[in-house]
Symmetry: C2
Subunit: 293 residues, 2 copies
């Protein structure tokens, strides 16, 4: 018994193509794969990789027979694309997405929802610094969290189907409130990315001769930062703009903590410095105990 008859992915980049690969690797999870994108080059790759039974630029046609439509477009495109396809979806179908931010997406999308279509937003916390349909792989979601943030209106049966779908992708499921989701992700993912992008910019503004040497001597600290910083600009622009409240709040907190650390270094306050470093080690140990490191 398949999870869905016809399953439609719109925007098959790193996440979407990983879902498609997983579905191809485990035949029987769905009956038929429909893939849509506005970019013909992306669709060409999807055809070459044989990741869809129907591959089309026509989003409205793509969704009309789908039992589940999964939007894998950048966060800023979720609501507009949803608005365009919702009138063409069939009654009883489920709409889901894979967006990294929730509150603003839900607010923008809600006015377009239909009573006969369940919307169950999901955020698989997985990814690499690579993007596009060639970057995906079938095991991307294994043992990673997938956070579901359904509204109170969503039928339990639809929530269960999306949860089971992500379990079939290999993920672990947690259901939470959209605002709570946004604060957690601002702290564990969006702020680290903002910092990584920023520090690369800081290095880039060093004098010409210095910059060359920064590249020569990038120690492990900087290397890890730049790995994060290699991510897709459009995707992260949308995440920052769509989670600005939670992100600016944790950034403000971080900036105060960094200023306090600077003051401790300026004053030679060894106790504060050692305490700050030791907290890092404690958090690290907790992560290892949680088997996330």
């Amino acid at each position: 018994m398949p999870l869905f008859g016809t399953f439609c992915v719109i925007g098959p980049g790193l996440i979407g193509s990983s879902v498609l690969r997983r579905l191809r690797a485990h035949p029987g999870l769905v009956d038929r794969l429909v893939v849509a994108d506005r970019d013909p080059a992306v669709l060409e790759r999807i055809r070459d990789l044989d990741l869809g039974d129907i591959v089309t630029e026509d989003m409205q046609k793509a969704v009309e027979d789908a039992d589940c439509v999964m939007l894998c477009v950048p966060v800023g495109a979720i609501a507009p694309v949803a608005a365009a396809i919702l009138p063409h979806m069939k009654p009883g179908a489920i709409l889901t997405d894979v967006g990294s931010t929730r509150r603003s997406v839900v607010e923008a999308l809600t006015p377009h929802l239909r009573d006969d279509i369940a919307y169950v937003p999901a955020h698989p916390m997985a990814g690499t610094e690579h993007s596009g349909p060639d970057a995906g792989f079938a095991t991307l979601f294994e043992d990673r969290w997938c956070l579901l943030t359904p509204s109170g209106d969503a039928p339990q049966a639809s929530i269960d189907r999306i949860a089971n779908f992500w379990r079939a992708m290999g993920a672990r499921i947690r259901i939470m409130d959209p605002d709570h989701h946004d604060t957690i992700c601002a702290m564990v993912s969006h702020l680290p990315h903002l910092i990584a992008f920023t520090i690369c910019g800081t290095a880039d503004t060093l004098a010409e001769d210095m910059r060359a040497e920064v590249l020569d001597f990038a120690a492990s600290g900087f290397r890890d930062f730049t790995r994060i910083a290699a991510s897709d600009p459009t995707m992260w622009r949308d995440i920052f703009l769509n989670n600005s409240d939670a992100l600016l709040s944790v950034l403000d907190r971080f900036s105060q903590d960094a200023a306090a650390m600077a003051e401790a270094i300026r004053k030679g306050d060894e106790k504060t410095i050692v305490e700050t470093i030791s907290r890092g080690r404690r958090i690290r140990r907790s992560l290892i105990e949680n088997r996330q490191a």
Copy 2:
């Protein structure tokens, strides 16, 4: 022909024990290994690991026959330990270290130098988040940079011997001015570490229920930061305090860049956001071309 007859390591932690392991793995580079530390537990481990021919708590005795003494103690201990051992070193011997900061160490150490002892500071840019004599390994320095910052007084022959020593460790050599060294390292290593320690502290001050979830959901961004943050507190306290000018200067620059990014997000200034992210990608590409990533 060995590089040195008697070679003495003081403070065999991650770096020092890696040097010792490399020397054991390549017999003939030196004739005899002398290892000293003030901590009997460390010396016990060095004996168990068979990393020294003579292992002693007596630093003055340890150095008296050495042709080269390498200080692998934390940055803040380099000058005091050097002051204590220099009167006991034999004429013509070389004093070196592995400190991550240069200007303040050189300033503190210079008054204690002798005309008949060459001081050739070296900074192998290698390490892991682990510390202590058990954390070392013989290949730690392979293909990593080792930055030499000798003063104008150091004889070229002594500089060449230390350069050849580090080449035998597997490292690539660059010679530069101490101030230049300190700015480069502030940017590529000390600032990223300061940020990593700080962001862990920021996460740690979230409300109790949030913090537990931060640990549960630590995405790859936060994971990379905490790996860096697991490093040794004493070592990093000393680095921050001994490179405070260069570090506070790049931190200030970074804070301004982060504030500009926050302002762009607040205003919805897509152009600035995308430019900042794209710079990160450019830097990343340069790193890959330099084969450091």
